[in-house]
């Protein structure tokens, strides 16, 4: 209480009259397990149980325990499976190498040098992120495929009999992988370079180290964690890649084998292949977690301003300018070509270099014709449902991970990241294994063939997105801010509502938008799970392509890209502005 000095506010009413809601249960050290139990339950039901069901299916042949499927997988007589595993691995390794070269080189160029065209290039370098996998692969086949614009144009120009080159097979897959995945290297490398305190280099130089020595002993070791992390990431994504092998007709990759086994009705073989691919992915996930925990050279210095070296010589300037222009063209061509073809009349483009007839009709139809509008509406609807689930689960899980203390935290973290490590094909196979028959987790419904299976697949696949972005903002937020609210008398719920949630809102929103837009474009598990009644956008694009309605397919693609660009822009704005903590 306070004495009646003239300055002091007088007590107006007794302060102890606050409602006492929390009973003895909430103060038990075990109460936290009541709070986190639903999170574990959801992960058990929709991640662990489906994974387990697939495994069970793989070791049962005609209701008997049998390892035949695994024996056949590793058999040296019918080597198609081993070949697929080998092909997947070497495509992935090559992808890591090419992505690393392109990504790191771009990062150094853009972070450390000043040259004409740098600013434009720095913006456009992230364009591949706006390409959904399926749409990206399609634009590459339109551009560089056997009947693609560039090879045909070269043939015309040089008066050749045959097209001089075109993308096919493994090379095609590799080029597409490099184009779409180098951004992972670029982003981690450029943030690592930006984080490199120039005073470290200056310190090394003042101690007598030469330029090369500094590179070898200071810069490269500092970048190693970023490079290793992105290598693991790209390897995993390349292993999971499905669209590129599908379009370029490489049947011998793991994901394609699973798809083929399923379409041939060989369900338990598909389950075995799936299980093997899961094991590979899980091992990689664990290695990645272990590695990230192992070393972290984050630079704590603030207010670093990296000095960019200016390219001064006239020759250098011209070379830089020409290279920048080529870079910009390569980066923008896939999007231009999609826009171009989206404006071409369906069925008119056959052997010409460029489509001969143009129309705006596809865009109008997209929103007016109920047949073309339907898949858009379906995808929005299904992704919306999935995203609501992602937000509730993601925010709760992020709060639990960052703020609560309980045993099994690492397990929760691994389980949440698991669906992200699992290839979409595997997620689909798992869900089929688990929900072809009614069970407790599906509320006694058969989910396969119903509307609900795709929202569930999207929910599972994008589980980590909201979780990650939310926990990233929560980690930055000092725990004492929440304690201050509690100290001022706020109940847990009140301080969550008024303090934690508003402060984490930028992260929650960014993750939510990303999950939503990814759900709209999801192709890999959709193609295995969709029902004719609720065909999603991505599957519709695929089907239109195969019925040669290129214009409509590309119009869908342009719509998706527009959505992604809006989302990337918005989330950059909201997360960028809210750094005043």
């Amino acid at each position: 209480m306070i004495t009646n000095t003239p300055n002091a506010p007088r007590p107006s009413k007794p302060r102890m009259g606050l409602p006492r809601r929390s009973g003895p249960i909430t103060q038990s050290p075990y109460f936290v397990y009541v709070l986190v139990a639903p999170l574990f339950l959801i992960l058990l039901a929709y991640v662990v149980y489906p994974l387990f069901q697939t495994f069970v299916q793989s070791i049962q042949v005609e209701d008997q325990f049998s390892l035949t499927n695994y024996a056949r997988f590793f058999s040296l007589e019918h080597t198609s499976n081993l070949e697929a595993l080998w092909t997947s691995i070497y495509i992935s390794v090559l992808s890591v190498i090419t992505c690393a070269i392109v990504g790191v080189a771009m990062a150094f160029l853009l972070e450390r040098y000043e040259f004409p065209g740098r600013k434009v290039l720095a913006v456009l370098v992230l364009v591949p992120m706006a390409l959904p996998p399926l749409v990206g692969v399609l634009s590459f086949t339109f551009l560089y495929g056997e009947s693609g614009i560039i090879p045909r144009a070269l043939k015309e120009l040089l008066h050749l009999e045959q097209v001089p080159f075109y993308l096919k097979g493994i090379w095609g897959v590799l080029v597409v992988h490099t184009f779409t995945m180098y951004t992972y290297f670029y982003m981690t490398a450029s943030s690592a370079i930006r984080g490199l305190d120039p005073s470290l280099e200056e310190a090394a130089a003042s101690l007598g180290a030469g330029r090369l020595y500094i590179w070898r002993r200071v810069i490269l070791p500092m970048l190693t964690p970023a490079l290793v992390a992105s290598s693991l990431l790209v390897f995993m994504i390349a292993m999971a890649s499905y669209t590129a092998p599908l379009i370029f007709g490489i049947e011998r990759t793991m994901t394609m084998q699973i798809y083929l086994s399923r379409t041939n009705g060989n369900l338990d073989m598909a389950a075995a292949q799936s299980t093997i691919l899961s094991v590979v992915s899980i091992v990689f996930l664990l290695v990645m977690r272990w590695y990230q925990g192992l070393r972290n050279y984050q630079n704590m210095s603030k207010g670093i301003s990296v000095h960019r070296t200016e390219v001064k010589s006239a020759v250098g300037k011209y070379v830089a300018m020409i290279l920048s222009i080529i870079g910009v063209i390569i980066l923008l061509l896939p999007i231009f070509v999609l826009v171009l073809i989206s404006l071409s009349t369906n069925g008119t483009w056959t052997t010409q270099v460029l489509p001969p007839e143009y129309t705006f009709e596809h865009y109008i139809k997209l929103f007016t014709d109920s047949k073309t509008w339907r898949p858009i509406a379906n995808s929005f609807q299904m992704s919306f449902v999935a995203t609501i689930g992602n937000v509730i689960f993601g925010v709760a899980a992020a709060y639990a991970m960052v703020r609560l203390k309980f045993k099994g935290k690492t397990l929760l973290d691994v389980l949440i990241m698991l669906p992200w490590a699992l290839p979409g094909t595997v997620v689909a196979v798992n869900l089929i294994a688990a929900f072809s028959e009614p069970n407790v987790f599906s509320f006694n419904q058969v989910l396969i063939g119903s509307f609900w299976i795709l929202p569930l697949a999207y929910f599972v696949r994008h589980l980590p997105l909201v979780f990650r972005s939310t926990s990233a903002t929560l980690v930055q937020m000092d725990a004492s801010v929440e304690e201050a609210a509690r100290n001022l008398g706020a109940s847990w719920w009140y301080s969550f509502r008024r303090v934690v949630f508003p402060m984490a809102l930028s992260g929650i929103l960014a993750g939510t938008l990303l999950a939503f837009v990814q759900g709209i474009g999801e192709f890999v598990s959709s193609i295995l799970l969709f029902t004719a009644k609720s065909t999603p956008l991505s599957v519709e694009i695929f089907q239109r392509m195969y019925s040669f309605e290129f214009g409509t397919a590309c119009a869908y693609g342009v719509l998706q890209i527009t959505l992604i660009i809006i989302v990337l822009f918005v989330s950059r704005k909201i997360t960028g502005d809210n750094t005043a903590i």
Partner: protein, 359 residues
Amino acid sequence: MIEVALDHVSKQFGNVKGVTDVNIRIQPGEFFTFLGPSGCGKTTTLRMIAGFYFPSEGRIVFGDQDVTTLPPNKRNTGMVFQNYALFPHMTVFENVAFGLQVRKVPKSEMIERAHRALKQVHLDGYGSRRIDQLSGGQQQRVALARALVIEPKILLLDEPLSNLDAKLREETRIEIKRLQLDLGITTIYVTHDQAEAMAMSDRIMVMQGGVVQQIGSPEEIYNRPVNRFVASFIGESNLWEGTVERIEDGEAIIRIAPDLRLRGLTANASADCSLEAGKKVSLSIRPESIREAGGEETGDNIVTGSVVISEFTGVSVNYVSQVADQQLKAMFVNQGHRVRGRGEAISLFIPKESIYFLG
């Protein structure tokens, strides 16, 4: 005003001991400080009082209410955090009004009280500012207003000055003390800065390694430290080792080196020190109690040495001198005398009242 009692409180984190057996009774209206180096358990103790940790053993009592396991939002304490913990998404006014909103104080009263609190900390007119538009000192005062506006029974301050620069720290220190005296609120203050603790506190609890070393007024702690840790942590001190040669007339003669003996009062000894002939003993001598040996001081307790380091700070002249095989720090108030340089001989007088014996 309310009394705060910690009744044999201990806190363990897994196998790690946080604090052990803290047993204190803080008087109503008292300014009480937990002082110690980082990791000594002072913040842990404060957080148990605020309710962010519950003790593993013992009880915490506010007045006649046992609050040992009461959640923090039911305790009605006002806390100022080291990093202020202001809500970055709210304005200054909204920050201050937060605790009143939680208590569902009627709007007109809320506005009036929040404004009065801002005025108390000289921030009237800043209500609509955003937190990131304030300087560090202003943020600190918002945090103080936010804690005081709810009229807490106890004010808890967790190193509130450590993020301010030296000049501002002194101003804010006086400001906090003034508010505390005006409001008469029981205040618990955590700091590792002994000068700050000495200047502000009614009583200080010195902690180390989770264990309470000494509780007492600043004067007691400075002049009669209970052990070597307290003697060296509070202020500066020369800690010498010696052997008791003999005891006579309430005075002990200590041999430091073969030809260096000091005479001290046996009454000036900590509880754990037994002064018997032939025993080893530690001596604490404050640098400012040493005088330059001139004409009048002769005989006992005069030592001669040579200057090793000489510092002129303006207020004082500080010497480190080599005396026998020991180093002796001495501090003289600057009165315009000539400053001795390195290597010069110096003759120093250590008054026998200023020697304090430790176990």
